[in-house]
Symmetry: C2
Subunit: 382 residues, 2 copies
């Protein structure tokens, strides 16, 4: 597309700074090169849901990647990516679609943590002749799914069930989502240590039971960026590091300046006696995610920057309706409300990049001079 000055972009719009994206990608590459000898990065593309972002993240290779929906798997497969992990416990009704994708010569791996699904996968592998590869999910942090680490019998039974139908127990995976609640670097380091150790123990259990189980997969942006020891781990999954967001900044995982994503909005009114600035971006644009609400610094629905991306001190979106955002100074901060007339464009940094990006069907991509130089489509839905 032709270069468009920001003033001509209709609001709300999702802005992406590709220079920050590239720096964030490089930071994770360098971190893993230092921490892990030969460990593979399998970026999670559930945040980006974009072919153009995938190309930059993969640096020209055709994988591997992680996805959160089969729609992502299909779209990335069409774009030439051939090694895909679908990292949500499989539902039996989705197995036909999995097999269909695999038949396009895509090495699609799925996950499960239970025997009922393992039996369904085994039956589907037997009926189709597809050697469906499966990672068995391990619960490293007590936050979501996964086989409890101490339940070795269940782990082995799942692997046996899979293999009995010709499916392939390819190894184990975990996601230490509890890292998002860490309060210090020490807690992040401890999360990374436990994530690795739980995974290696489970992989060792499978191998001792006679399974090859070559894969030991871990992943979350906070743990990936806070570990110095990936010995034994074969791959790391992380996604939000492409863009970063206020939750990651609140965790100390990134700086505000590294956040590559923002929502462009326009001032549409004021309530002067209340110290409010109203903008045409509400929760439909920002999402309802309030991920910083329980952090040390609550950023409301987002931190407000000028149109060039420079944050005002303590200016946040304090509340949001569907298409209205209310901007005010952070309660108790004593900051001064800037004079922002009706018509002024603002950029709002999101709490949670995954949630905010999913409210839009495309990124408006910024050039070095701050104008919009491209439009990268996203694929939402399932």
């Amino acid at each position: 597309m032709d270069e468009q000055p920001l003033e001509t972009i209709e609001t709300p719009a999702l802005l992406l700074d590709p220079a920050k994206l590239e720096r964030n990608i490089e930071r994770m590459r360098a971190q893993l090169a230092e921490a892990g000898d030969g460990v593979v990065l399998r970026p999670h593309l559930k945040t980006a849901k974009s072919i153009e972002v995938a190309r930059r993240v993969l640096g020209g290779s055709n994988g591997p990647i992680t996805v959160s929906t089969l729609l992502e798997a299909e779209r990335f497969a069409e774009a030439g990516i051939t090694d895909i992990l679908y990292a949500v416990g499989i539902a039996q009704a989705k197995l036909d679609r999995v097999i269909e994708i695999r038949r396009r010569e895509i090495d699609l791996t799925i996950i499960t943590d239970n025997l009922v699904a393992a039996e369904a996968i085994a039956a589907a592998a037997r009926a189709s002749g597809e050697p469906i590869p499966v990672l068995i999910e391990i619960d490293s942090d007590g936050h979501r799914g996964g086989v409890p680490p101490e339940d070795r019998d269940r782990l082995i039974a799942i692997a046996r069930t899979l293999a009995s139908g010709g499916a392939v127990p390819r190894g184990v995976m975990t996601h230490y989502g509890g890292s998002y609640d860490a309060r210090s670097q020490a807690e992040l380091g401890e999360a990374a240590r436990r994530e690795r150790e739980t995974t290696l123990a489970a992989a060792a259990t499978l191998r001792a039971a006679g399974f090859e189980a070559p894969v030991a997969s871990i992943g979350s942006t906070p743990t990936a960026l806070n570990t110095k020891d990936l010995d034994g781990i074969t791959e790391v999954r992380a996604g939000v590091y492409h863009f970063f967001d206020l939750v990651m900044a609140g965790l100390g995982v990134c700086s505000i300046d590294e956040i590559a994503l923002s929502v462009l909005a326009t001032v549409i009114g004021h309530q002067q006696d209340k110290g409010w600035i109203l903008v045409d971006a509400g929760w439909m644009a920002m999402s309802r995610d309030r991920g910083t609400a329980n952090q040390a610094v609550d950023q409301g629905y987002g931190l407000v920057c000028d149109a060039s991306g420079l944050p005002w001190p303590d200016l946040i979106m304090t509340s949001a309706n569907q298409e209205h955002g209310i901007i005010a100074v952070r309660p108790g901060s004593g900051a001064v409300l800037p004079d922002l007339p009706v018509g002024t464009q603002l950029r709002i940094l999101p709490n949670h990049a995954c949630a905010t990006a999913s409210q839009f069907d495309a990124y408006h991509v910024l050039g070095p001079d701050g104008a919009v130089t491209g439009r990268w489509p996203r694929f939402n839905g399932w």
Copy 2:
């Protein structure tokens, strides 16, 4: 489309019960027929964003409607709707698009609450020759935008500015969003009374200043369903009543049984020691809306029903990741966790219909026997 048994629908999916939709539509019609002599219902279609829902809500007429984005205005205009109110304070950069829609012989009305925008509208009306109709937004509840009711000078100045350029100050509008925080029927009745009185006073101010200002527009589902006096009001805007949701049920505005919208999900695992059931619908499907968090009954991310739509006592989605929901009994309720094996389909009622529906690009429409009989597209975005 051919009828599809629910078991064949891939999850997550957004289900709509058209029989409940019709009953909810009829309830609002009957309520307004009783409360207001000749008052017009101008349904807000920001929740539905669907041509098929609009047809049912309008009962065959071609308007009037309310929208929250210009994309909605364009799509509904293409479908033959000719009288549209865009009820978000206009940004100057959107005026070209407004004029373009009006030139298709659509009576598109916009709103503002300030002089800067009024000047831009007047200039656009003058330059284009389009007599853009404008409702001036009044702040009836201190929750969002709008001219403060006591600021008659500003109200009149906005009307004069509009008229000076050939735009038409068609009247006043307000939204008593504070009604969503009401704690009793008495508070809802008081909200409805204040909404009406503020609006009539502002309309009277404009008329006394010499403007025709024929329109006095109010609206919110809770106030519309809790008023017996609409004397002087010309139109009522309301939207969420089409579907209702748990927030409305918590307000006492509807019963759980009237909620027409739910998210179909599949059980993908359990954490038995924690009493958790994991499903393949997380916040990407439910949205991050936690609108019941501050109500008397906190419904988590949604109330869980069986596949036929019958709720289990106190079974809710207690937490959500992007594509994972964790279902458990409501803390402190003492309810018993039902035995729901992996593969079981569930239906989850949403906190906030507007937010949950916006996570999907279509409704799966249920037939009388519970199978899916149609797919109604939605249009998200701007």
